[in-house]
């Protein structure tokens, strides 16, 4: 058989191209982490759950500060309602819902067959550490109701002042034990400290965690047998219940 230099060159070129142009898909675990950190198809602007939580926390702070500065009961009520909506809203991904979803997805990551030991060990810690933020969210919700029920301006102001502090702490953390360090223990954590924790987990990954491409983020599905796979054939996106 005659060796054709042209054919060989084309073959070599193809091999080089395949090696250079076709990247390996991310691990399923990393895609779940990507849903928390980078993007997911169900949030507004398709941002990651954690990003969504941070944005909503900023909105809550702004509304709470406005409420706390007001001397008008009607205005305070309106702003307090906005704080609650940004913090705890099923329909609009409040801080609470977005953080719950981020925690869920990090747990999903740890459940995946390809999860590293690092992710498996870090997920329970993270799941335990979101508690204080969720607690503040629940408290904001209760105080928001108190504001709506307040009969006097003074009564409403007590609640909104506290809501403002809580909204701030939800983002930046707090110094509950008075040791001069904000977020020194999980009971003081805000989203800032939780993000650091996730980023630290991601930083320990081997092979290295790369920002996950949008296609993988939006096309991860779970089969009836419990396995997570990419929906390469476009059969209809994510199964019900997985967001």
């Amino acid at each position: 058989m005659r060796d054709a230099p042209g054919v060989r060159s084309i073959f070599l070129l193809m091999v080089v191209c395949m090696a250079g142009c076709v990247s390996r898909p991310p691990t399923i675990a990393h895609v779940h982490i990507g849903h928390a950190l980078t993007g997911v198809h169900v949030t507004p602007n398709h941002e990651g759950y954690f990003v969504q939580a941070e944005k909503r926390a900023q909105e809550a702070i702004a509304a709470a500060q406005k409420a706390a500065a007001s001397n008008d009961l009607a205005e305070i009520r309106k702003d307090a309602a906005a704080v609650v909506k940004a913090t705890d809203s099923e329909e609009d991904f409040g801080v609470k819902q977005a953080l719950e979803m981020a925690a869920n997805h990090i747990t999903f990551a740890a459940t995946s067959d390809d999860a590293s030991i690092n992710v498996q060990k870090s997920a329970p810690v993270f799941a335990g550490n979101v508690g204080r933020v969720l607690e503040r969210c629940a408290l904001i919700d209760l105080l928001g109701r108190d504001v709506q029920d307040s009969r006097t301006l003074a009564e409403a102001q007590v609640s909104v002042q506290e809501m403002s502090k809580l909204a701030q702490a939800n983002l930046a953390g707090e110094d509950k034990d008075g040791n001069g360090t904000v977020g020194s223990v999980p009971a003081e954590f805000g989203l800032v400290q939780l993000r650091k924790e996730v980023e630290a987990m991601v930083g320990r990954e081997n092979p290295k965690y790369e920002t996950v491409d949008q296609w993988f983020l939006f096309n991860l599905v779970k089969l009836p047998n419990g396995k997570w796979v990419f929906d390469k054939l476009g059969r209809g996106g994510n199964i019900e219940g997985y967001k």
Binding site: E91, E100, A115, Q120, P124, G226, Y242
Partner: protein, 370 residues
Amino acid sequence: MNRVVLGVLLLLAARCCFAQAPGPASCPPGAHSPALDDARSRVQKDERALEPRLKLADALLAAGCYAHAVHVLEEGEAFHPRYGGIQSRLRDARSMLSEQRYFDGLDRAAEAAKIERNLLRCRQLGDLTACDDALKARPDDAGIFVAKADALMQANRAADAMLVYRRALELNSTDVNLQTKAKTAETKRLALVGECLNGRAEAALQACELAQLRGADDEFSLQARKAMLLQSMDEPAKALDAYVAASLLKPDDKAVAGGIVALTESTGRNDALTLAARGNALLTLGRGTEAVRALRQAQDLSPTLPDVKIRLAAAEKLARAEARKKAEADAAAKVQASLANAATPSAPAAPAETVPPRKYSNEGPASRSH
């Protein structure tokens, strides 16, 4: 966004490989079953043996002891670092542990938020309902007791505040600030006692109510004073209640008994408790027969009234004594009457003119000695 659906999904995702349904969310303290105990002892016999360790891990997972299962599997991983059965179980155990912590955290968060909200309202708004709700959740928290007592002081309820400060001191006896607060409350209460005993009308009445402290030396005085004030303010029903309350503290006080008798008559109240109080009051006043009547009525209405039998027995004894005295008095009166009758002649009295004049011994001829 449905948390329940997500929770179910999470559980299904992690449980698919377990033959048995996992146990409760947290490992019960000292959890054991024959399978678990057997697996434990087999692992203790041979730490390196794979099969017993896997069985122990499965039993622990089935019992909901996720943290323990992770520990057992991690130990096994050290002996068999590349064994897939350990790896997959470890992944599942860690996942279950993660969920357990997460959902525990959610429950704790909701509960802790309620307590914090109640504390805030208790401390800053003096919302006593919120104080009580916080105490229900943390019954041994001295800080909440102090917050409640402070709220009571704000409401000028010094006596109630004192009790709550005392409870806080039981929990934290060395707190100097707390001791000072308790003393301030006592001083304020004494001022209210003064106002109650010496003041007039509505202000005095309010002071009595605010100063009233169960078990205090002045409890009876305040209650009796309250009754008198109410009576003077033309509130007979409330006054009667107050007198009855006072009589329970000091059943033999004649002034209180008098108040009860007078007010039961004027109000016409005839429920079992009031009748019993009236009976007791009449007994105190030494009016046995009337007491028997009232106490019998009370007993008929409510046979289980406490002490009514004893009181009734005492009243009946008194009534008998009264009857005896009356009988004696009647008899004495009869005797007197009959004596009087006996002294009167049965024959018709002679006209005055015919009655011979009494002869006095000194009647006689005058002599020198006269």
